[in-house]
Subunit: 375 residues, 2 copies
């Protein structure tokens, strides 16, 4: 019996009304992982706590022979080994990264894909060469419009065999524009080599953008004189309401605040137990679209809101910020919720921002807490 | 409204006949994670690839003030800081660790808990002080029967509020007996400090035992003159057929072989694509109960079996071993399966070894492969 790719690679679909998480979704959830929410206590997320999403397999790489090419519409194509990249002027940037699919499994109907709840986030310090410096060294032609990034990871998705590829418009790749972040070709995370699952030996880091832009296992940078229309650009990662809707591209990270769940958990329900009396509520908040303006907290499931203290951004405009407030817990059940607003006026929604890919669902987090005396 | 712990912490249950993975199970799957199977290529699993299961929260710890006590039925109670522990003679051991719940989500009916498929495993080199050396230094009383290990993680499970605690019989804690492993109080993993999720700053490592024995965030060792009957010993982690069955305790790791899925995957189904022709099949195999004797491979869903080449154990009797064999792929669908057998004669089952906790399900792995020409 011959086989075709379509036999193992189905089109996207929405889960049925009462359909639990499928074995396929579970297989993604057991290999990829989010940030355990108590790890919001760490300003920098260590490997294994920082979220990871790998589309295909983590590729087997030989760092010693790794070559990054910069080509296409450039005057001087480059082929750089790791030693050559490390010899170039480097910068270190603290960056909060979030998966565009964060919140997907809370949507109704649920798009069937990696089933994140709220935890697909992490912050690290990435060290590498500014992308702009590499593009300037190669000399991008005036007619270039996009810069395409190709990773070493290879697989099939919705019937399409592919290397993972994403593009940035040239201006974004060059970091041009008043609020444009500076992209990096990074070779270090938190001061050490990239872990395999974070792109060893090289990855793109695009501060402020959702994770799909930060191409891992980066091996090729190509300037093109036509807009890139690859699978991850024009099929996946678009805000669509229906399958035949072209939609808008997913790009910058919408505002979100998360709370470190207070007290201690039940193993299975993850509901929390706190004692009556004062309880410090704290967490992190971020937005990749505009600076954060405020974090508010509700302790009555969103009926009333109180401002939280939000730490300044200091030298890290693309990293999450710590927030805190104090609450006096009284016996009974409580739903605790933080909510972030950025300076563009965007606030986290109280109702889900549904789209067919399940992207950028920054619906407020609800932390279920039981306040009970010690027994 | 007052609340009680029972409101947020339900008894164990089995999933209904057509019940998909629940949001509660998913919440565990997004925080804990398995070894992505391609990471079987690494002899040592780095943090973030080595499996992790945390019952409650990763505790916030201060390593500088951390004290490990050794007390109970001993002549000389000890209280040791990290510097004192590091000054004692240390050993390094390569150990394969597997969650006792590995394979649970493949069971029918499915016990509702952390929903592992096959990937809850990892191998690391752990450095620390032999437990026996600490117990000898404290001088365990002749009437002691168990040694209880208490972690800093605190939570509720099936209605019972608790610190995580497990015990070893005294002989096992001392490493006595012909095939008894030497347990360690470890402060380093793969040459670096323990990551937070692996027990920073101290954990117990009990080679050959399922993960529940390797108590993380270890703060207290207590010799007792009666058998320990805590929740994780006498309620959880027992092989039961029904809720009122006392069952046998879960202890050593049953044999298992896993294959690195060959070729490349489909994102969603995780089915594999290979090209026609020779394909190297390889992976790792282990048993904590007895040395491995053989690995066989079937390429026809278990109808016929062929011996694979199994690397020797060398100096690492408690670590997984690499195996490989060659296969000629022909166009069509194939189910590939490895199977491990240990020297006690135990072979991985072709049908599930069901029990109510979903423990030690070492049912053979099935890798779904499509062999197709390049298009």
């Amino acid at each position: 019996m011959d086989g075709r790719i379509g036999d193992i690679s189905a089109p996207g679909r929405l889960a049925g009304p009462a359909e639990g998480i499928s074995t396929e979704e579970l297989a993604l959830a057991t290999r990829n992982h989010g940030l355990p929410l108590e790890a919001l206590r760490y300003e920098l997320s260590p490997p294994g706590l920082h979220y990871v999403l790998v589309h295909y397999d983590i590729p087997a790489v030989d760092a010693d022979s790794w070559t990054l090419t910069v080509g296409g519409r450039v005057r001087t194509p480059l082929a750089l080994g790791l030693a050559e990249l490390r010899a170039l002027p480097a910068v270190t940037r603290r960056v909060t990264m979030e998966c565009a699919g964060n919140g997907r499994a809370l949507l109704t109907p649920r798009p069937v894909s990696q089933p994140w709840l709220v935890e697909a986030v992490g912050t690290a310090e990435w060290t590498g060469v500014p992308l702009r410096a590499l593009l300037e060294r190669a000399g991008v032609d005036p007619d270039a419009v996009d810069v395409v990034f190709t990773g070493a990871d290879h697989g099939v998705e919705r019937g399409v065999e592919q290397d993972y590829q994403r593009a940035l418009p040239l201006a974004a790749a060059l970091g041009e524009g008043p609020d444009a972040p500076e992209a990096l070709v990074a070779y270090a995370m938190n001061g050490g080599p990239l872990p395999p699952q974070h792109g060893h030996p090289l990855r793109l880091v695009v501060p402020g953008w959702y994770g799909m832009a930060h191409v891992k296992w980066l091996r090729e940078i190509t300037a093109t004189d036509t807009r890139f229309t690859g699978f991850q650009q024009d099929v996946a990662y678009r805000y669509r309401q229906s399958a035949d809707d072209l939609g808008e591209p997913v790009s910058r990270i919408a505002p979100r605040a998360l709370m470190i769940p207070p007290g201690f958990p039940d193993f299975m329900s993850r509901a929390r137990v706190v004692r009556p009396g004062p309880v410090r509520l704290e967490g992190r908040a971020w937005s990749g679209a505009a600076p954060l303006a405020a974090v508010e907290v509700s302790t009555d499931d969103g009926h009333t809101w109180h401002p939280a203290h939000l730490d300044p951004a200091d030298a890290h405009p693309w990293a999450w910020r710590h927030w805190h407030t104090d609450w006096t817990a009284t016996p009974g059940r409580h739903l605790l919720t933080p909510r972030a607003t950025d300076t563009s006026g965007t606030t986290q929604p109280l109702h889900q921002p549904w789209n067919r890919g399940g992207f950028a669902n920054n619906l407020i987090q609800r932390v279920d807490v039981l306040c009970a005396k010690a027994t």
